[in-house]
């Protein structure tokens, strides 16, 4: 840990508890700030220390029973406004793998279930998959953030998505295995004037590509009158 800049203040808090037969350990760093409150007997202002719960940036939920059972991801991190610091991860002994196949599969399934439960149309589903894929590509070797994915999947209910995904065992940030998202990959072509994006199963059906002539024919396209004006 000597290579990592040290934490600056705060209180270390640990709690071990059982929830639905799961042995859990919660570790977090608490910060407090000087505030003011009303003193009821005298009805005057008094100084008071408050915990900054809304700025809970460093927290880990460790499933001890999951760890003992050899579960791949017994640790999930709670994410606040800031990156989960290397100091904190190093302190709790968390070494994240560069790719997380199981976590990615879990994310993929969770998103599919969410879209199914919230009756997304086929085109909305395709849109979500495309946005999440784009985001995963942008991150390259950096971990993806669950709160960003939440807004990509469901901008209206992103907090609910985040809470339920986090509860299902998805960490607030994790490295993604882009190969696990390959089923979502579509045929994409972009240049400065044209953007094409279609499912590969339509090749030689609705979409015919002539490699020699570099031309593409797409059938059953309906443009609105407004687009054609």
């Amino acid at each position: 840990m000597k290579d990592i800049p040290a934490a600056t203040g705060g209180y270390f808090f640990a709690a071990r508890f059982t929830e639905e037969d799961e042995d859990l350990l919660l570790i977090l760093m608490l910060h407090q700030e000087q505030g003011h409150a009303i003193d009821e007997p005298t009805l005057t202002l008094k100084r008071s220390l408050n915990l900054q719960m809304e700025h809970l940036d460093l927290a880990a939920r460790i499933s001890i029973s999951g760890w003992q059972a050899g579960k791949h991801e017994p640790v999930s991190l709670v994410r606040g406004r800031k990156e989960v610091s290397e100091y904190f991860k190093s302190f709790i002994g968390l070494h994240e793998p560069r790719t997380n196949t199981e976590g990615t599969q879990k994310l993929k399934i969770f998103i599919e279930q969410w879209m199914e439960a919230n009756t997304y149309s086929q085109s909305e589903k395709e849109g979500v998959r495309e946005r999440v894929l784009d985001y995963a590509k942008q991150r390259k070797d950096e971990p993806v953030e669950l709160n960003v994915i939440s807004t990509l999947v469901d901008p209206q209910r992103h907090e609910k998505f985040f809470a339920e995904a986090n509860e299902s065992g998805l960490g607030a940030e994790f490295h993604i295995d882009r190969r696990s998202l390959s089923p979502w990959v579509r045929v994409i072509y972009n240049d400065s004037d044209i953007k094409l994006n279609f499912s590969r199963r339509l090749l030689n059906k609705r979409v015919r590509y002539n490699k020699r002539d570099k031309t593409i024919l797409i059938k059953d396209i309906e443009l609105s009158e407004e687009d054609l004006r």
Partner: protein, 196 residues
């Protein structure tokens, strides 16, 4: 053969009521037995590869490896993830009427259709070499002499190709030396060149 196709071929004998749709989906039933761990591994692999995009039990989406108890599952299979795989010769002809894919596997086993498809492609390639007018949108071309002869590419069925392999050499030799015309019912035939 691509790995996904190879894996799918291991599962294919166990699928029933297979329906191939025009937009590239294959729908099928699978009778799932949770005790069969090998097939669960195969289903999981095919799901991870995107080949089986959906598993449904009584209309509800389920995900491997948690497919539940024994019982029928509805599978939605994405042929876009199975390059070169075709359920039938009809679907092969529908998507590749005149040029065979570099590598392909047809689940429907029929040697006559296989040879017929190869002969039909050879004939169409030959005719295309003589084509004057191309209509890529309509998947057809025209041979033009004094009249135009229309050759629609996707209008033949596997059954119609059965006798073609035996007749192909003589047809191509004949057509190579002659001119063409079309009868009122759309068939074309060769006519002798007029030597004046």
């Amino acid at each position: 053969m691509p790995q996904a196709v190879d894996s799918f071929l291991k599962l294919r004998p166990r699928l029933s009521e297979v329906r191939e749709q025009e937009d590239g989906w294959i729908l099928a039933f699978f009778n799932y037995d949770p005790k069969d761990m090998a097939v669960l591994g195969l289903l999981t692999e095919l799901h991870n590869e995107g080949v089986i995009s959906e598993f449904r039990r009584e209309g509800h989406l389920v995900f491997p490896p948690k497919l539940g108890d024994s019982g029928p599952l509805d599978l939605r299979i994405d042929t876009g993830k199975l390059p070169g795989y075709f359920e039938t010769y009809a679907s092969l002809i529908g998507s590749n009427p005149d040029t065979p894919p570099q590598e392909f596997t047809v689940w429907e086993k029929n040697d006559a259709f296989h040879a017929g498809y190869a002969a039909a492609c050879a004939l169409l390639q030959f005719l295309k070499s003589k084509a004057e007018v191309w209509d890529t949108t309509g998947q057809r071309f025209f041979l033009v002499d004094q009249q135009a002869v229309e050759i629609p590419l996707t209008s033949y069925s596997p059954q119609q190709t059965a006798t073609l392999p035996a007749r192909l050499p003589s047809i191509t030799r004949f057509l190579n030396a002659e001119h063409w015309t079309q009868t009122h019912d759309g068939h074309f035939f060769a006519k002798p060149v007029c030597v004046c």
